[in-house]
Symmetry: C2
Subunit: 337 residues, 2 copies
């Protein structure tokens, strides 16, 4: 049961050459059934496991895929991770995990580390992808797919959902429910393309319904519960009481709801709240959160499939995959009509 058994030991014990053993474990070349059986028996007996290090060294295939995440205890990330993990396993790849805490330097370090460890591909989940890092990875020639809110404007492989349309639809839905004064709380700190897209979805829906844009209703926080709470609180403190709030992240949306409740208002009676992502907690919270469903598990799965295809030099029909979203009506939005 020890780890020291090598291909040599097996060969000797089976009375064959190491190449024969290699052939049976990879079944790369024909081997007589009888010999094959003998080798197989010895392998079973000894509990021999081929050393992938040695194998990788010669084949140049590490069977490792690097996954870099901005945060480990975020449900958005987790649900994607589940999809990634499952597909990886399916294709016999292992995952090398790197957590960056959304830190720029840490991200670069992680990429380097993964590169050093000879990962064959990278799946990158990031709130905000750095152009420099994209270039760096491209230069290394490592196949990569990005799941990022901000990746779509680069010429790289991405999987995402259509943010602009989703935001547009949700805003329209809110308007359709009779809300006019709709706060829009975004979840990234910077003016990223994503936020531009989302913002324009929001604005379009509003203008189409002849609602004047009120910039004081727009906030830019972050993905966390705390940030959502803060943003909403600021609004309320400024005596801005919207009909509804559209927060582009579920955890932040729940933070907003709590801020509303703490200020003495009720959700959804006084203020409706809608989220984005449809993360696990959206169903658990009460009132249950009306939100935009994104197929997070699938996003992970698709991203992983993409890098595996890239590794195998298969042709990908598209560089940018957009997965469908849909509005999930639950309890946090009331009908004012």
């Amino acid at each position: 049961m020890r780890n020291n058994i090598t291909i040599k030991d097996v060969a000797k014990q089976a009375g064959v050459s190491i190449s024969t053993v290699s052939r049976v474990i990879n079944d790369s070349k024909p081997v007589t059934d009888e010999v094959k059986q003998r080798v197989l028996d010895v392998i079973k007996e000894t509990g021999y496991i081929p050393n992938p290090l040695a194998r990788s060294l010669v084949t140049k295939k590490s069977k490792l895929i690097g996954v870099v995440v901005p945060e480990l205890s975020d449900s958005f990330v987790n649900e994607i991770l589940n999809g990634i993990e499952e597909i990886a396993k399916m294709y016999d790849y292992d995952i090398l995990l790197a957590n960056t805490y959304s830190n720029r330097e840490q991200e670069l370090k992680s990429i380097n580390l993964l590169r050093a460890k000879q990962v064959e591909g990278i799946v990158m989940i990031s709130w905000k992808v750095e152009e420099e890092h994209i270039n760096y990875i491209q230069n290394c020639g490592i196949p990569a797919t990005y799941i990022s809110k901000t990746a779509r404007n680069y010429d790289i492989h991405t999987v995402s959902t259509s943010n602009k349309e989703a935001t547009y639809d949700m805003t329209k839905y809110l308007v359709g429910k009779g809300h006019e004064k709709i706060a829009f709380i975004m979840t990234s700190e910077d003016d990223t393309v994503l936020e531009m897209e989302r913002l324009s979805g929001y604005e379009d829906a509003l203008s189409e319904n002849n609602i004047k844009l009120d910039k004081t209703l727009i906030k830019n926080g972050g993905t966390t519960y705390e940030k959502g709470y803060e943003s909403m609180k600021e609004l309320l403190d400024d005596n801005i009481i919207p009909d509804a709030a559209f927060v582009t992240g579920d955890e932040a949306a729940i933070g907003a709801i709590n801020a509303i409740c703490d200020a003495g208002y009720k959700v959804p009676e006084d203020i409706s709240v809608a989220g984005f992502n449809d993360v696990k907690i959206a169903k658990m919270y009460r009132p249950k959160l009306t939100t935009v469903y994104q197929p997070l598990y699938d996003m992970g799965a698709v991203a992983m499939r993409m890098v595996i295809k890239m590794i195998n030099k298969e042709i990908l029909e598209e560089k940018k995959i957009e997965l469908p979203y849909r509005i999930v009506e639950r309890e946090s939005v009331i009908d004012r009509i």
Copy 2:
């Protein structure tokens, strides 16, 4: 910037032998400053990264630690994972992640996979650890630490918190708040040692306060939100209306709260609810969950430190580390006195 640069290339370009290059990158043996500098320059120039595969092959050190988890999108697991990840990075180890979905066979497969990948150690998070797997890992001679609710009764390295005492304390706390009819909803499917411990903590607190044990108040569900919901619903459907419910997992506790609300009762006014773990959502939910805080991040960190020590053959003072817990009073438990 390509990955193909090897030690040979560096040696040639610097006009030295590969052993010299090896010496400077490991600074294992004295090298003249001048030569050293020359080599260093070439390394920088070429962007050379030593191939850890080749290195591991000879040193027998993979700098890899396997982490097996029962579930990826569970906050309990995640928060532990954060601690693990951080310490690993600190000691220059990488994490090979294996998700088992609490599946026995999958767990065995994962262990084998990690073994095959030459991990130097394993941190195992598992709802229920299998004796067979423990033995297997021990036989392989791979250092391992367990974070498991059920691991403490084996002679292995574990990190945990004192469940019996924590359960005792929380039950006592509940009694102290004037609750008598206290439902006890456990979160593992089997009669594990953990559940026995917890149960006896619950029973002791009750009997010390002269409250008769009512077995109909005891349920055994699972860790998930859904299981918590179900267990509570069963109670209510059977017309058993407790003063309080002590659910030994936060997500399940929130499930229980929702079941209570859906049945038309109020938390905490009609029924108080207490949880266990103090996971992120405990603060996010309303009413905020009164629960038992466990230092999850630290548990992960300590577990990782333990395996690293074991790898380095350092002496560990204790095989079983118990980290402190504490009761966190929030809003889901009312004072009936």
